[in-house]
């Protein structure tokens, strides 16, 4: 079978599996729909949390980012795992003890106010939609590259699948499909990594392999990579470019953001006991760590292989993956010195960013662009970082079924996260807006109907994001994490560990965090991107890291404002007391 037939088979089989599970585990009540009847085993919940959490960004983009950022890529590794420590220690068990369905539930009850609940719902919907947009782009990339269907059709197929099991199965369906999706995605991630590790270093464990020597030589892989990257004018691979304070803040924003992401928190509401919530956070992190400790190895291998197979190659002899990705527009080659040889070095290929392709081909058969070449350096290659993991098995010449597996894994990662997010959005609308705010008189059955309608609507909107992607998906992710750390995390943390924070404090804190972070990111990313340089930043912190400062402002405001208003009522103090008892 050809690679493409294999890909169809793998993707088709995995989809059939997800749908089968969805039918088997249909939701019958609102409790089933929101929190899977609170009866999920902690190990299964750990796997589901891992699949929920590891999105297209983790599976597809992260290793690529690390490959090109070197040590600076560590912010993602530490930020996206360290948040689980905070979650397990500070939030998950307490929120489970509180025992409701959604995150705004807690905020609304703890701060005894509908306004607080509404602010939380607003933050939550914004965070979730920005996140879903990224997943849909991932689905689109995989479909267009491997199945050669139109991106729009690909997104539509993805939507139908998610619609089917999220609307039908609710949290229960999603949880068990996510367990299956985790197995698919981790297998798909580890197999090529192990293959490549053996090919390059002879060591079957990628985590150790990338600290090993290259096969048939006595040079360490990372030393060679440092040397090669330096020769090509990049910073050595294991050194960092960003300032310490910036790395510190980005890591912190990602960590606190992770702990404040509603679709992750809500997973801990599904286990039977408080002690299970702690345990399942631990399992989740193990399952996540499996991929996250492999990613830096994959990144290093990919960089080595990429440089080896592209640098100084005649374009006409370039490997087929290079041309395949060029044909869907994620690689571009601009022959600056017209010698027909690909030169890959530090610096931008184009002055104006992404390639803008035009009709026609150059003298060597390359696709033509209308960009202005950047003549201050000799680099001739534009490469989209998102393709590294997907292209990696092809670059390393692995067999067709491995490539097919990676395609199925990428889809599993994107779909599982999209489903989890859609559920959070639908619960926020049906439970927090309809039942608890506007229409308190509806029955359980009606609420379930609203939840399904909201999930359906959310899927359509998310699909539209995938078909008409906002051109700034990568930047928007900074938004999601920044906002989660600046709004939801402090509100939850203070709600659990302080008895004196009142509703005025919490609401003003969330609003200050929201406005500050929102305007800082919006200013540098969308309104005035040309100003986005270190010398213009506040305290030299980039928009990616500003959520951390927003969080500090939130804490500060909440504590100060609370002093000027009456303390929370007695029942609330009582409630805080109870959830803090183990």
């Amino acid at each position: 079978m050809s690679t493409q037939e294999l890909t169809y088979a793998f993707v088709g089989l995995s989809f059939a599996l997800y749908i089968g599970i969805a039918i088997w585990s249909r939701a019958k009540s609102t409790s089933d729909f929101y929190v899977a009847g609170k009866g999920v085993n902690p190990i299964a919940n750990g796997m589901a949390t891992a699949a929920d959490w590891m999105s297209a960004a983790s599976f597809i983009s992260m290793a690529g980012l690390i490959a090109f950022m070197g040590k600076d890529g560590s912010v993602y590794l530490m930020g996206w795992t360290g948040g689980y420590v905070l979650l397990a220690l500070l939030l998950a068990p307490y929120l489970r003890k509180f025992g409701q369905f959604t995150v705004p539930d807690f905020i609304g009850t703890r701060y005894y106010s509908k306004a607080a609940r509404l602010v939380a719902v607003l933050c939550l919907i914004f965070i979730s939609f920005t996140y879903v947009a990224g997943q849909m782009r991932g689905v689109g990339i995989v479909f267009s590259r491997f199945l050669e269907v139109d991106i729009n059709q690909g997104v539509a197929i993805g939507m139908i699948i998610v619609f089917f099991y999220a609307v039908l199965g609710g949290m229960k369906g999603i949880t068990y499909t996510q367990v299956a999706q985790y197995c698919v995605l981790i297998f798909a991630y580890l197999v090529p990594a192990i293959f490549i590790s053996i090919l390059i270093t002879g060591n079957p464990i990628p985590q150790l392999g990338f600290g090993d020597t290259i096969i048939n030589s006595s040079t360490y892989l990372l030393d060679k990579l440092d040397q090669v990257t330096e020769e090509l004018g990049f910073l050595p691979y294991t050194e960092s470019l960003k300032s310490k304070i910036d790395i510190f803040c980005i890591t912190a924003a990602l960590m606190f953001g992770t702990a404040g992401l509603p679709h992750v928190i809500v997973r801990f509401f599904t286990v039977p006991k408080v002690s299970d919530a702690r345990k399942s956070a631990g399992y989740a992190l193990i399952f996540i760590a499996l991929l996250y400790t492999t990613a830096p190895a994959v990144g290093a291998f990919a960089r080595v292989n990429f440089i080896d197979s592209v640098q100084d190659t005649q374009y006409t002899n370039a490997p087929s993956w290079f041309k395949n990705w060029e044909s869907i527009g994620l690689i571009s080659w601009n022959d600056k010195n017209s010698d027909g040889i690909i030169r890959y070095e530090a610096g931008n290929a184009f002055v104006d960013g992404r390639p803008k392709f035009i009709e026609g081909y150059g003298p060597y058969g390359e696709r033509m662009t209308s960009n202005i070449p950047d003549l201050s350096n000799n680099n001739e290659v534009y490469i989209d970082r998102d393709i590294m993991v997907l292209a990696n098995p092809e670059i390393a010449n692995l067999p067709g079924w491995v490539i097919a597996l990676v395609a199925a894994g990428g889809l599993a990662a994107a779909l599982s996260t999209a489903a989890g997010l859609l559920l959070v959005i639908s619960a926020a609308i049906s439970h927090d807006l309809m039942r608890k705010t506007f229409r308190p008189d509806i029955t359980d059955k009606q609420e379930l109907l609203y939840a399904r309608l909201a999930a359906g609507l959310a899927i359509v909107i998310a699909g539209l994001f995938g078909i008409y992607p906002p051109g700034f998906v990568a930047q928007v992710v900074a938004f999601a994490f920044g906002l989660a750390s600046a709004t939801i995390f402090p509100a939850l943390f203070l709600g659990i560990f302080s008895k004196t924070i009142n509703k005025e404090g919490a609401i003003s804190g969330m609003l200050v965090g929201l406005t500050f972070t929102f305007s800082y990111i919006a200013y540098y990313k969308f309104i005035n991107p040309s100003m986005n340089h270190e010398e213009n930043w506040l305290f030299a912190i980039s928009p990616e890291g500003i959520g951390f400062i927003g969080m500090l402002f939130n804490f500060f405001t909440a504590i100060i404002v609370s002093r000027f208003y009456p303390p929370p009522p007695f029942e609330v103090k009582d409630m805080v007391e109870t959830i803090r008892q183990p």
Binding site: K71, G82, R278
Partner: protein
């Protein structure tokens, strides 16, 4: 509470400390192919995170049991 604070101190030292603030100093030390600061930033911190959560689970479960025993002892006295 004391458990929480000490675990969080380890969390901070491993990630922000070894991985970021002192990572250049640790990079002077090389173990096999890894510079130590780089290793902490890309591998070590994650392993420590996993350990921390399980230590926490273990300690809290022990605390839970002790706490439950206290309650049942009190009930016996009554």
């Amino acid at each position: 509470m004391r458990i929480l604070i000490s675990l969080l101190i380890i969390w901070f030292t491993a990630s922000f400390g070894f991985g970021i603030l002192w990572s250049d100093e640790l990079d002077q030390i090389q173990i096999r192919g890894f510079k130590l600061g780089f290793w902490f930033a890309q591998q070590g911190s994650i392993y420590i995170f996993v350990l921390l959560i399980f230590i926490y689970v273990f300690l809290m479960n022990r605390l839970d049991r002790k706490y439950q025993k206290d309650i049942s002892n009190k009930q016996d006295i009554k």
